[in-house]
């Protein structure tokens, strides 16, 4: 039994790179095609942030930028 089509799921991590190296080597030996797939996680909720203080007060706004807080989901 030889492999004809190798699917490589990648997330751009060092582990994915190592897996890709093995997959390419095996593809060459088996004369198989390779498909790379990266899955983007679907987020059902959008993250919203809010800033406390008066938006017109630029000084206060700048002070708050360093501590953005999630509004919740």
């Amino acid at each position: 039994m030889s492999f004809t089509h190798i699917l490589v799921a990648i997330d751009f991590s060092p582990q994915a790179k190592a897996a890709l190296d093995v997959a390419l080597r095996e593809a060459e030996l088996h004369q198989a095609s390779v498909t790379l797939v990266h899955v983007l996680q679907h987020h059902p909720h959008t993250e919203v942030t809010y800033i406390r203080g008066n938006p017109e007060n630029q000084r206060g706004l700048a002070a708050e930028f360093g501590s953005l807080q999630p509004l919740g989901r």
């Binding site: 039994m1 030889s2 093995v22 080597r25 030996l29 088996h30």
Partner: protein, 138 residues
């Protein structure tokens, strides 16, 4: 290139399938194979149990023989071993001790639309714990 492929077998149809793949891989990589059968042991010991283990071991060596012959017929260098203990841990430790660089074992198909709640089967335990690449044959 893989040089030493470990093939844990339990003599089921799944093992036969994984052995076919292992022979093919060993041929392509010019690797040697080790066929391993682990006899799961219980926590306690007694003389009756010991006799039972011995009969299991004897049966295992008998069943390993045709598998080894299948490898040899394909021109693959093959070793065989029978050990006792907890299967998942034994397989992982054996792979590490014997410096296997690929482990091939039979697994099972799961419908992605209806995955079971417990995925801690032997093949998944081994694939999670093993330090070398693992090929699950389904």
């Amino acid at each position: 290139m893989f040089e030493h492929i470990l093939v844990p077998v339990d003599f089921t149809d799944k093992s036969a399938k994984s052995l076919d793949v292992a022979i093919n891989m060993a041929g392509l990589h010019r690797a040697r194979l080790t066929l391993l059968h682990v006899i799961e042991t219980l926590e306690y010991e007694d003389s009756e149990l010991q006799a039972f283990y011995e009969s299991l071991e004897s049966a295992a060596w008998t069943k390993l023989k045709p598998m080894a012959e299948q490898c040899a017929k394909a021109g693959i260098q093959v070793d065989q071993d029978v050990i006792f203990g907890r299967r998942a841990v034994c397989i992982v430790d054996y792979a590490s001790d014997e410096k296997a660089d690929l482990l091939i074992l039979g697994s099972h198909r799961i419908a992605s639309a209806n995955p079971p709640k417990n995925l801690l089967t032997l093949s998944y335990q081994v694939s999670l714990m093993c330090q070398c690449p693992v090929l699950l044959v389904k």
